[in-house]
Symmetry: C2
């Protein structure tokens, strides 16, 4: 049977892997960072920059947000999220589960699914494994996430176990409904004519891929059990959910070290919603392949720049007459042209160009870091890259945001 | 003596003129619309787009705003506004007079100048013809504006006359101080090595140009007198100030019709701070060559798009499923790619990409309209262009913002 995506590991260096995911829309080299387009757009950065300058091959869209606004009827009218947003490279959509559990207070969880009130207008809404699969089919992403329940990072064992059990049942239901939807052609992301989009192997079916999610909070035994049950169902890739949700960093790193190497080697491994450049490097050292996080754009909007020498806060008065770029080692179009002093002025003056420029640089820095990571894995020098990268990051400790 | 700018009329069609202004930094075809970069940046639109896509040859900077923030010491540190903002094409700076009289309530006007409180922090500040010239020399713009007093659009004759007299004395003082500053090399906009910037005629001196401003509110006799007294002092170009400041549109059009053709033919004519596409076409029909206005970006930020078929407000629910571009006749990168439905969604979702995209389109529309105007003047068909352009603008009257 033809595959929805094709995944190949090209090089392994310790636990770190360099690989390539072929989808119907893009060829994606891993480890990869996926910019987050929550509402169908990367905040403050036009797609033209993401394509031509940063060469982002895959971005994320959020089911919860798009389900509520503009709503699936509108997305369907336009023929899916690719056509609606005019992004013709790969997309991954999350299931909406995480947002329901983190953004809304008023929710009622049952075996069937979760009833909640929209954070936008208080309207009553319902999401379940089946609804999430239907929404993600309409969005037409290349990679669909199973609908899960995400417990808090510090959840006790009993709570976590109950959540894990529910997530396992929902994963099965997600897969069943997903397969039905694929068979009846509900996926709006299909490309007409050339199902591979000219970018994928001819053996690819052009259908969506479905990833399962491993939960279990900080409990290693439950993480192992969740992984085994998820793998038993069988997915095109596996994600680690429920990290960076309030737990200590040592707990997150402990879970990564324990769990990631146990995940199926022959499938991409995706760490959801994490994190800083340091976090990404750490996770890669344990064999994670895919990442997304809002930090580059969220910090960008409040003046926080990620650089090769650590974070800096452009609001700091010491940058008033600084004619250096945000990161002297960065080759992005912002760093090639604009000084810290100028960007600081724009920020202080309330000009949105400050937010768009810092967000742009931050994404470029994340994507460029991933390129360097891949190169180091390919040349068998990831450990050295990692220690040099982390040492340089600490140079400007005083500039921490 | 070599000239700061070189101005040639290429074609005349009725009163309308097509010409070219050569400065040390750009060759500027007229009639020209100058995007407004109040605080050293065009709001929401990166310079890269203005250069590569819209081919804007000259933009505006506001002395009042930059004087208060980041302040002249910072601008001087960076070596002028071009270097600070990394805009290497031509710039025009206003004198600060208009903003002092429109933005601040607390001000004390004397013969010497105007004392006022900053709208940012309430600090006591002072602007005069001399200070304005010093600030504009530090900014280093290609075109400097004389420091004037701008009376309200509905000012009575006595007030207007007093203001006109003061403006005439200030014009003289502006010119004297301007010349001193040029001689002592205070202009920070000079290009090292090649004073013409490779874009100007070798006969250009590389120094700044100074424009005088005609006031007189809606009183035609005072407008004429102001023009004569300003022309007598002698400037590199002449501007019409004090329009679109609260008077009826018929008054503005009356002043334009009366005044513009009387302005020195051998100098560029600049209508300050005006206006809609209709206003620009009207002024061009009376022989105006240069324009600036915040409308394209200000309206863009609140969802107002200027199109060849009239204005539209993207917030309107009728655009929810509209898969047309903002303007189907526009070739800008926004209209080539994004639909009204998508941009409306971004606007409603509070995504700043909506503001940046509509602002981008609006500027592209203004600049493209000027290109078409120039072409029509060159081919002797401005009258037909004008009537067709205005008729088409009225097609979507129901969509008026």
């Amino acid at each position: 049977m033809s595959k929805p995506i094709d995944w190949k590991i090209l090089n392994v260096d310790g636990e770190a892997r360099a690989g390539v995911i072929r989808t119907r829309r893009s060829v994606i080299e891993t480890p990869v960072f996926m910019p987050v387009g929550t509402q169908g757009a990367i905040k403050g950065v036009r797609s033209e920059w993401l394509e031509a300058e940063m060469d982002a091959r895959i971005i994320l869209g959020n089911t919860y947000h798009l389900f509520l606004r503009p709503g699936i009827e509108v997305i369907k009218h336009f023929g899916g999220l690719h056509r609606f947003s005019s992004w013709d490279r790969a997309m991954l959509t999350d299931s909406g589960g995480f947002q329901v559990f983190s953004l809304t207070d008023l929710r009622k969880l049952t075996e069937e699914g979760v009833e909640f009130r929209s954070h936008l207008d208080g309207s009553r809404q319902f999401l379940s494994p089946e609804v999430s699969m239907e929404v993600q089919a309409a969005l037409g992403s290349e990679i669909v996430m199973a609908f899960d329940e995400c417990p808090p990072g510090n959840a006790d064992k009993e709570t976590t176990r109950a959540s894990l059990e529910l997530t396992a049942r929902w994963a099965m239901r997600s897969k069943d409904r997903f397969n039905e939807l694929q068979e009846k052609g509900a996926d709006l992301g299909k490309r007409e004519g050339d199902p591979s989009g000219g970018l994928a192997e001819p053996t690819l079916s052009g259908r969506q891929a479905l990833f399962g999610i491993v939960q279990g909070a900080g409990h290693l035994d439950l993480r192992k059990e969740s992984l085994e049950r998820t793998a038993e169902i069988g997915f095109d890739g596996y994600a680690i959910g429920g990290l960076s949700v309030g737990e200590e960093k040592s707990v997150m790193y402990g879970v990564l070290e324990y769990l990631a190497p146990k995940m199926p080697k022959e499938r991409p491994r995706y760490l959801m919603g994490v994190g800083t450049p340091e976090d990404l490097i750490e996770a890669i050292s344990h064999g994670v392949d895919m990442f997304d996080c809002v930090m580059p754009t969220r910090n960008g909007r409040t003046g926080g720049a990620f650089t090769s020498r650590g974070k800096l806060n452009i609001r700091n008065a010491k940058f008033i007459k600084d004619d250096q770029p945000l990161d002297p080692d960065c080759i992005c179009s912002v760093c090639q042209r604009y000084s810290r002093g100028y960007i600081r002025h724009l920020y202080q003056a309330g000009e949105m160009n400050a937010a768009t420029m810092i967000s742009h640089h931050n994404l470029a820095f994340y994507l460029d870091t991933m390129r360097r990571v891949r190169q180091s894995i390919k040349s068998g020098s990831f450990a050295r890259f990692r220690s040099e990268f982390l040492e340089k990051l600490r140079e400007n400790e005083d500039a921490i945001v």
